[in-house]
Subunit: 393 residues, 2 copies
């Protein structure tokens, strides 16, 4: 007599988690250096020194009560001010501290945004490829997940592809850029076109369609590219952010929602976000990490290793004959299965102790994801195996 839906969620795990656990078990058997684990999405670069220095300084110098106290549910004043100031400096977006709601990472930020927007019979349009948990969050919000298949010619955001899936029941469109698993960064032009579509269809349907932009990989871009700031391009947009990847703090659970003033019903959306978070037992984001970000809001990641691995893998795999999506951001490289289904190719690689993720769960069958957040040595030693895998009968 337990909740069946949650029981199923707790037992039917994603294949990616199985693969990661297999990798750990296999490493224990044959040695970590002999397992080429590209399955993970864990930052391999340590947190910037400034982050750890700030943590030590805060714990050593501030009164314990000040460090570890409850903050307001949406975040402490200092953390919100610092992040709003950083956003304004970078994007001149008119962010106020009151537009931010800190959460325990981007995952609850997305879950909370969808819960806040979830109305009876509502639909959440999810643009593939996508992080597999999105469908879990949409369902938990009482919404139907509507998947827009990926445009595999360029893996960009195509408003025309999204349009076909909008209905009067559409409450939200959920995008993720820089994209996991494709590594593609959606362009300003494409995001603006989507915004125009949503504005037009919103008018037609008589209610706003909100764009939820999940941006944990915002700071991870290469070749001098910049990630457009969605609220400057799309009026009704909510940004979900996390410091998991940008500051290599995935375990610390610090993220936020940014709910701009300009959006329709901004105050109501913010209130619904606060209410949805409250109902899930959110009290505040971890306070020590809030104090840290009040000092480190403008610290940026060191991308050197990810960039080097990205180039190495992309160039080598292309030269072997793999069809690769040019990676612009995040720390992933998406390849097309050269033979059989993605799962079949993943299994063949696994037999050679190379772990790569079939992307069926990401709404992207036939493709596999390689994490570039590994050591460069791992990349180099795995390259001959990738060559053999595509050459063997």
């Amino acid at each position: 007599m337990v909740n069946e839906k949650f029981y199923a969620l707790g037992t039917n795990r994603l294949y990616i988690r199985e693969l990661a656990e297999y990798g750990m078990a296999r490493a224990a058997q044959i040695g970590r250096e002999n397992v080429f684990d590209f399955s993970i999405g864990n930052p391999s670069v340590p947190a910037p020194a400034a982050v750890n220095e700030a943590i030590v300084d805060i714990v050593s110098m501030l009164p314990a009560a000040a460090v570890h106290s409850y903050t307001p549910a949406g975040g402490g004043a200092d953390a919100r001010r610092a992040v709003a100031a950083d956003l304004n400096e970078r994007f001149d977006c008119g962010a106020r501290p009151e537009n931010l709601f800190f959460t325990c990472g981007a995952a609850p930020a997305v879950a909370t945004a969808l819960a806040a927007l979830g109305v009876a019979e509502g639909e959440c349009v999810i643009v593939a490829p996508f992080f597999p948990e999105y469908t879990v969050y949409a369902e938990a919000a009482g919404m139907k997940s509507v998947i827009v298949p990926p445009v595999t010619s360029d893996f960009q955001l195509h408003a025309s592809a999204v349009e076909a899936w909008l209905t009067p029941r559409t409450q939200a469109v959920l995008i993720n850029s820089p994209n996991n698993p494709s590594g593609v960064v959606y362009s300003a032009e494409r995001i603006r076109a989507l915004g125009e579509l949503l504005e037009r269809k919103g008018k037609e349907y008589g209610h706003p369609i909100y764009l939820v932009a999940d941006e944990p990989y915002r700071e991870l871009v290469y070749d001098g590219l910049s990630v457009p700031f969605v609220p400057l391009l799309v009026r009704n947009s909510i940004v979900c952010y996390s410091y998991s990847k940008s500051l290599s703090l995935p375990g610390e659970r610090l993220g936020y929602l940014y709910i701009p003033d300009a959006m329709e019903d901004s105050e109501a959306v913010y209130a619904a976000v606060a209410g949805a978070a409250r109902a899930a037992g959110h009290v505040c984001a971890p306070s020590l990490m809030q104090h840290m970000i009040a000092r480190c809001a403008s610290v940026r990641p060191d991308l050197e290793v990810y960039d080097r691995n990205r180039r190495l893998l992309y160039e080598a795999l292309c030269s072997y004959g793999y069809e690769c999506v040019p990676p612009q951001g995040a720390f992933y490289l998406l390849i097309r299965s050269p033979r059989g289904s993605a799962r079949e190719f993943s299994d063949r690689a696994k037999a050679r102790d190379v772990l790569i993720v079939p992307c069926d769960d990401f709404g992207c069958p036939g493709y596999l994801r390689l994490g570039t957040c590994v050591s460069t040595d791992t990349v180099k030693r795995a390259l001959p195996i990738f060559r053999e895998l595509i050459e063997e009968k």
Copy 2:
């Protein structure tokens, strides 16, 4: 077009929060020392030095990647082992690390437990007085909240009082001991009697009734009293715990669920907990705090100030003629309104800059809660005002 239920939750706040904000605003006007704020439930004693030392040591000495990485959703191996060992040492309860599921505090632990047990038409029986958010969590779990009124003669747990509210739809009974707001510690005898009732009614209804024990105040007891460990007395019980009060870390969001092997469908309940947490966007509890608790699982709070304040307030208020519930644990003293409704008396006290919480939201109308987690100086200087409040016409 936002979710109405969550919008309401985000806008209709608890009176206790309003009172706390009034206190802060008033302190800014007339000086903090002139506001006698007994409304709060924030530890006034700082986190033990061992906790801050462990944090600094972990951040300074361990590789950043190890400190800040994702842990498994239920918690890192070291943290779970340490807490299971501490539970076994204290209660000889056969805890295994696999029985623990770490959460971002007790609030999501309770919310997750109820979500996991929430079935269609299910009911959650909540024993008053209770933490007001319980009804929010029960509703979010799709369950009807059924309130057992308090037994004001002793504020103890009375199985006979609970029995009247059980139905075949009862999925869970939720208790809180040491109790917020009464300060009463439920006795082993009373808990065992409730367990026997639930066992008997569960057999009658053909499904288990789970006892959910919310225990953030477990370590805060006085006069040498000990808090019975519920799973030793009640087979089908889930413990929800938090380090917010015991280690004065309310902002850091570290807590856990303990789901004993002995309970019926233990594995299914654990899986449903994992699934419910996942659906809410839980990824893991903050990793640095997990590393800390791996070292500090047996650190206990310094209760001296709370104990001193408790004695001072209880003895003085009784001598003035207040009807006080003898406080055994937590950091609260419950008094009966000497005149008019609790809200009316709270308003009269507020006019004298003494902030005390009317307990209507706690299922306990006619009573008010005083936090003893304040400075002893605040207590001493407030006593004459309490005397005047009960003596004035």
